[in-house]
C-alpha cells in the first residue's frame, strides 16, 4: 500500500496534515440506492474507515463495474471510475500497474464479478496486484430487477427462473482461494464493526485482498441472510475466525469445529470428552490454502457460516515485480536512448 501515510484535506499538497473525517469522504452526489438497501451500510463503514487508513485522499481510487453496488464510486469523494460490466478488475489492474502509489479499490457484485467478469476477477487475483476487492454478494441481480445470479441458491424462484434455478451456485471465497488470493475475508453489511475491521485488514494487506460482504437486497431478495445474521441467531449460526484460536462458536461458546479423520469438518459440542484441544486452530497464515478452502465450504444450515479472515499471506505483488523488471533493465542497459534504439540493428549509409 501507499507509503504516503499523512492525511491532507486535499487541494493543497503543502498544507499541514489535517485529520480527515468520514465527511471528507462523502461526495456531493445524491445516493440513489433503494431505501433500506444494504449498500448504505457498507458505504457508511468504508467512509468511516478511510480516514483511519493513513492514505492520502488523492491517492485513493475506487473502481467499479456495473450493478447496484457499482454506483459506489460516485459517492466516495476520492478518484473514482465507474467502468463497464465485469471489467473493474481489468481497469484497476491498469491503474495500479501504472501507479503503484495509488490505493486501488474494486467495488463489485456477485453478477458483475462472478458472471460477466469472472475471467477478469480470477486473473486479477492470481497476479496478486495490491488492490482491494469488495464483492457485495446479495445473491440476485438487482439493477436489472430480479434475475438469479451465480450465487443464487439452487432451486430459487426468481423473475428469470419461475420454476426454480437449475444451475449450481458458485462460492465466491472458494473461487478466490482457487485463484490463489493472498487475502480472503468475509463480513456482513449489518455487522458494522466487523465490516470496518475487514475493510481495514484488506487495506493493510500487501497484495490482492478479496472480501465478500453479504449484502441484503430488500427489494428482490429480502432477508437473504437473516437466518444466520439476525441478532437472535447470529452467535449460534456464524463463527468468527480468529488467527491462532480454536474454532469455537455459539452464544455459550459451547460448540466448535473439528476435523474428522476422513477429512470432513464436523460441528461438535464441547464437553468433558470433547474440548477446545480437539478443535481446528485457525491459521490464516498457512502457506497452503487447504484449511481456508475447507472453511469456505462451510454453509448454513450444515455449519455455522464463517466470517473474518480466512487467509492472509504475502508474496511479491505484480506491480512491484513489474517495477523491478524495469529497474533491472535500466541498471543493465542504461536508461533508454531513442537515438540508440532507432540506430540499432544492421544499418547502412547511402551517400
Amino acid at each position: 500500500m501507499s507509503a504516503n501515510i499523512e492525511n491532507t484535506n486535499g487541494g493543497n499538497g503543502d498544507a499541514a496534515p489535517v485529520k480527515l473525517t468520514r465527511k471528507d469522504y462523502v461526495s456531493d452526489q445524491e445516493v440513489r440506492w433503494c431505501p433500506g438497501c444494504g449498500d448504505y451500510a457498507i458505504l457508511a463503514q468504508v467512509q468511516k474507515v478511510m480516514p483511519e487508513l493513513g492514505i492520502k485522499r488523492e491517492n485513493t481510487v475506487f473502481v467499479s463495474g456495473i450493478g447496484c453496488s457499482s454506483r459506489f464510486p460516485y459517492y466516495m469523494n476520492t478518484y473514482g471510475f465507474h467502468s463497464i460490466h465485469g471489467r473493474a478488475p481489468a481497469v484497476a489492474t491498469g491503474i495500479k500497474a501504472s501507479n503503484p502509489e495509488l490505493s486501488v479499490w474494486v467495488i463489485t457484485g456477485d453478477g458483475d464479478a462472478l458472471s460477466i467478469g469472472g475471467n477478469h476477477l480470477i486473473h486479477a487475483i492470481r497476479r496478486n496486484l495490491d488492490i482491494n476487492i469488495l464483492l457485495f454478494n446479495n445473491r440476485i441481480y438487482g439493477l436489472t430487477k430480479g434475475q438469479y445470479s451465480p450465487t443464487s441458491e439452487f432451486g430459487k424462484k426468481t423473475k428469470s427462473t419461475p420454476f426454480g434455478v437449475i444451475d449450481y451456485p458458485l462460492n465466491p471465497l472458494s473461487v478466490a482461494l482457487a485463484a490463489e488470493s493472498t487475502f480472503v475475508a468475509r463480513s456482513v453489511d449489518t455487522f458494522t464493526t466487523h465490516l470496518q475491521e475487514m475493510v481495514e485488514r484488506a487495506m493493510r494487506h500487501k497484495g490482492v485482498s478479496f472480501v465478500e460482504i453479504y449484502q441484503n437486497c430488500n427489494i428482490f431478495n429480502d432477508h437473504a441472510f437473516d437466518m444466520f445474521t439476525e441478532r437472535a441467531v447470529k452467535d449460534d449460526r456464524t463463527i468468527s475466525l480468529e488467527h491462532g484460536k480454536p474454532l469455537v462458536f455459539g452464544k455459550e461458546k459451547n460448540r466448535g469445529v473439528k476435523m474428522r479423520s476422513d477429512m470432513h469438518l464436523e460441528v461438535v459440542e464441547l464437553n468433558d470428552t470433547t474440548t477446545e484441544a480437539d478443535l481446528i486452530v485457525h491459521n490464516e497464515k498457512a502457506p497452503d490454502s487447504y484449511l481456508a478452502y475447507m472453511l469456505s465450504r462451510m454453509e448454513y444450515p450444515d455449519y455455522p457460516v464463517p466470517i473474518g479472515v480466512f487467509r492472509d499471506v504475502e508474496k511479491p505483488t505484480y506491480e512491484d515485480l513489474l517495477e523491478s523488471q524495469i529497474e533491472s533493465a535500466i541498471a543493465k542497459l542504461g536508461p533508454g536512448s531513442l537515438e540508440k534504439l532507432i540506430n540499432s540493428g544492421d544499418t547502412w549509409v547511402i551517400e
Binding site: T8, G10, G11, N12, G13, Q29, K56, R57, E58, N59, T60, V61, V63, I66, P73, Y74, M76, N77, Y79, G80, F81, H82, S83, I84, R87, P89, A90, V91, A92, T93, G94, I95, A97, S98, N99, L102, N119, H120, H123, L322, Q325, I326, A329, I330, L333, G334, G336, L338, E339, L341, I342, N343, S344, G345, D346, T347, W348, V349, I350, E351
Partner: protein
C-alpha cells in the same frame, strides 16, 4: 563437394546487370523459408538495394510436412532504383519440395528461373502435392529455366564430416545451403548472414559451424558447378541519402510508440493479448523495459483494452494492440474510452476476416468496424500508416492526436505492413514532431469535463493530484461537471460534442497531397498499406501519358479538410481497397460522389498490373 575444389573457373562466369529481381523462396513451414528470405533481404538492404518483402506463411505452425497447406513462402523485390512493392510476380522461384512448386509455380514469370531441391521430389512428397508424374521428369517445366539441384544431399555431404550434430540438425541447415547458392547467383556478400549466425547460435559452437559451413558450401557449389553460366548483379539503388535500416511495420510501430513516449515525456503502458499478426508488437515493446515501458499480457482482449483505459486514467500513454477479432471484443470498452474521453491508442493489425478468417493473410476490412463498430453514437479518431516505415510516424501521430484531443485513436495497420520489410531512412530526433502533454494540476475551479476552446478536449487530471478527486464512468456525463446526467438536452449536446471533438482534429492534420496533377481525368484514392502498389501503378500510367493522379489517406477519421474539394477536381475517382468497398462507401455517403470501388479480398496485396488494368478500364468508360 569439398570446399577446396571449388575455386576454378570463377573469372570466366558472365555477370549480367539487372535493374530489379523478385525472388520467392518456398518450402515447408519447417524449412526455414522466412529466415532465408529475411537474411537475403537484410544482405540486399545493407548492400544498398531498395527492397520490399512479402512473407506469406500458413496459420498452422507445422502443417503436415510436404502438404500443400504447409507451404511457406517469402517474396522479396530488390532493385537499383526506388521500389514500393514486393513485385507482382517472382522472376525466380526456389522450391524446396513438390508442394512448394505446386503452390507457387503459377506465379512465376514465363521464362523465370526455377531452382528445385530434387531430393525432395520423392514418391511420397509428389503424392502429397498431388503430382501423378514427377514434373521434373516430363516437359511441364520447359517454359522456365529449370535448375535441378540435390540440395539435401549436397548439404549433408558438406556437413557430415565437419560437425558433430545429428542428421536431423544437419538437414535443418539446408536452407542456409540454398541461401549460399542464391548469394552466389546474385553476387551478394556473406558477411551479414555470417554475423547473424554467430550472434544467433553463440551458445552452441557446433551450430555456428554447421550453418556457416552450409552457407559457404551452397555458395561454393554454385561457383564450382557448371550449372549456372551467368550470375547477376543488382547495383545499389539511387535512393535518398542518409542512414538506413531494414524494418517491418510491426517493428516500426513498436519503435513509434516508444518514440511517442519519449517525445511526450510520459510513460507507455501496453496491454495486449496475443493475436496474429499483432503479437510481434508485444514482443518488441516487452523488450524495451529500460524505456520505462510497462507491458501487460492480459487474460483477454477486453481486459487489455480496459487495462489500457485504466492506465490512461492514471496518466500513462495507454495502448492496446490486436487484430480484427480482438477489436470486436474491445468495442464495448472502446465506447467507455469515448465516454470518459481518455487518450488511448488501439492498434489493429488487420487480417483476413470475418471471424477467425485468414489469420496470417492481409486485408483492410476493419475500416467500418473501426468507424462504427460500437453501440451508440461513438466516434473515434482513425489513422492508418501507408508503408512499413510510415508505421513509425503514424504511431507517434496517433498518440499526438489522442493526448491533444483527449480521444481514443484507432491505428489501422495490416498483415502486409506488419510483416513486410523495407529500408527505413532513419529519422533525426530533432525532426520528430514535438508534442507537449500536460496533466491538469490546478485544483481551483477544476471541472473534469471543462472544455478546451480550440479542441474541446477535457482536462487530464490524474489520480495522485490533490484537489482533483473526481469520478468518471460510462454513464452519460453532464458537460463541464462530469456528473451523471440523464437529461435529454444534455445527452444530445454531449453526443454532438463527442463528434465535434473528432471533427476538429481536421484542423490539426495536414491537407491531403496529390501525386501527379491536381486535377484531371482520374484520381486513385487509397488508404493504408496499398500505398506502394497504387503509387507505382499510377506512376506507370502517368509515364504512359494518362491523366491519372493518386492521393493516399493516412487520416481516416476525420478526413483531411481538402478531401472533398480534391475529389471534385477529377472526372472519375477510383478507390482500390483490400475489402469490398468500405472507404468507397464512406466517400459516397460523405461527399455524394460516384466513387468507383475496386475491391480485392484474397489475403494478398494489389499487384501493380491489376491496378493499371483497372485504371485503364475506368479511364475509358
Amino acid at each position: 563437394m569439398s570446399s577446396t575444389t571449388i575455386l576454378n573457373n570463377v573469372e570466366e562466369r558472365h555477370i549480367e546487370e539487372l535493374d530489379a529481381v523478385t525472388i520467392r523462396f518456398a518450402g515447408d513451414s519447417g524449412d526455414g523459408m522466412q529466415l532465408t528470405g529475411t537474411q537475403f533481404t537484410n544482405t540486399s538492404a545493407v548492400l544498398g538495394n531498395d527492397i520490399s518483402t512479402l512473407p506469406d506463411f500458413p496459420a498452422e505452425i507445422r502443417a503436415p510436412a510436404g502438404s500443400l497447406p504447409g507451404v511457406s513462402g517469402f517474396q522479396l523485390n530488390f532493385s537499383n532504383h526506388d521500389i514500393r512493392t514486393p513485385g507482382d510476380a517472382p522472376n525466380v522461384l526456389v522450391a524446396m519440395n513438390p508442394a512448394a512448386l505446386k503452390v507457387n509455380l503459377a506465379d512465376l514469370d514465363a521464362g523465370g528461373i526455377l531452382i528445385v531441391n530434387t531430393d525432395a521430389f520423392n514418391e511420397n512428397n509428389l503424392k502429397k502435392a498431388g503430382y501423378a508424374i514427377n514434373p521434373l521428369d516430363d516437359d511441364s517445366l520447359s517454359g522456365y529455366r529449370l535448375f535441378k539441384i540435390p540440395i539435401t544431399t549436397a548439404n549433408r555431404a558438406a556437413l557430415r564430416d565437419e560437425v558433430k550434430i545429428s542428421s536431423k540438425e544437419i538437414d535443418r541447415c539446408k536452407n542456409f545451403w540454398a541461401l549460399g547458392l542464391m548469394y552466389w547467383l546474385y553476387d551478394r556478400p556473406l558477411d551479414s548472414t555470417l554475423n547473424w549466425i554467430e550472434a544467433k547460435f553463440k551458445k552452441n559452437a557446433e551450430l555456428v559451424k554447421a550453418n556457416i559451413t552450409a552457407l559457404k558450401a551452397g555458395f561454393a557449389y554454385a561457383e564450382a558447378a557448371e550449372l549456372f553460366t551467368t550470375h547477376y548483379r543488382v547495383k545499389r539503388a539511387a535512393i535518398a541519402p542518409g542512414k538506413y535500416r531494414n524494418i517491418t511495420g510491426n517493428e516500426a510501430t513498436a519503435l513509434g510508440c516508444i518514440a511517442a513516449s519519449v517525445l511526450a515525456e510520459k510513460p507507455l503502458f501496453y496491454a495486449s493479448y496475443p493475436i496474429t499478426p499483432a503479437s510481434d508488437i508485444l514482443h518488441a515493446l516487452s523488450s524495451y523495459k529500460n524505456f520505462g515501458v510497462k507491458t501487460f499480457q492480459a487474460e483477454d482482449e477486453i481486459a487489455a483494452m480496459c487495462a489500457a483505459i485504466g492506465a490512461a486514467f492514471a496518466g500513462q500513454l495507454g495502448l492496446t494492440g490486436t487484430s480484427g477479432p480482438g477489436l470486436a471484443l474491445k468495442s464495448e470498452a472502446l465506447g467507455l474510452a469515448v465516454m470518459t474521453e481518455l487518450p488511448v491508442v488501439v492498434i489493429d493489425v488487420q487480417r483476413g476476416g470475418p471471424s477467425t478468417g485468414l489469420p496470417t493473410k492481409t486485408e483492410q476490412a476493419d475500416l467500418l468496424q473501426a468507424m462504427f463498430g460500437r453501440n451508440g453514437e461513438c466516434p473515434v479518431a482513425i489513422v492508418a500508416p501507408a508503408t512499413a516505415s510510415d508505421c513509425f510516424a503514424m504511431a507517434i501521430e496517433a498518440f499526438r492526436i489522442a493526448t491533444k484531443h483527449m480521444v481514443p485513436v484507432i491505428y489501422l495497420s495490416d498483415g502486409y505492413l506488419a510483416n513486410g520489410a523495407e529500408p527505413w531512412l532513419l529519422p533525426k530526433l530533432d525532426e520528430l514532431p514535438k508534442f507537449e502533454v500536460k496533466y491538469h494540476t490546478e485544483a481551483a475551479g477544476f471541472q473534469p469535463y471543462a472544455r478546451d476552446g480550440e479542441t474541446l478536449a477535457r482536462p487530464w487530471g490524474i489520480p495522485g493530484t490533490p484537489g482533483l478527486e473526481h469520478r468518471i464512468g460510462g454513464i452519460e456525463k453532464q458537460d463541464i461537471t462530469g456528473n451523471v446526467s440523464y437529461d435529454a438536452e444534455n445527452h444530445m449536446h454531449m453526443v454532438k460534442t463527442r463528434q465535434e471533438k473528432v471533427d476538429r482534429i481536421a484542423n490539426d492534420i495536414p491537407d491531403l497531397e496529390v501525386f501527379g496533377e491536381a486535377e484531371g481525368r482520374l484520381l486513385v484514392l487509397g488508404w493504408g498499406s496499398t500505398c506502394g502498389s497504387i503509387t507505382s501503378a499510377v506512376e506507370e500510367m502517368q509515364q504512359q501519358g494518362y491523366s491519372v493522379s493518386s492521393a493516399h489517406l493516412r487520416h481516416l477519421n476525420p478526413f483531411p479538410k481538402n478531401l472533398g474539394e480534391l475529389l471534385g477536381k477529377f472526372d472519375r475517382v477510383l478507390v482500390p481497397e483490400l475489402n469490398m468497398g468500405q472507404l468507397a462507401m464512406l466517400l459516397r455517403a460523405r461527399y455524394l460522389i460516384p466513387a468507383i470501388s475496386f475491391p480485392k479480398v484474397k489475403g494478398k496485396p494489389f499487384k501493380i498490373s491489376e491496378l493499371t488494368a483497372k485504371m485503364k478500364e475506368v479511364y475509358e468508360d
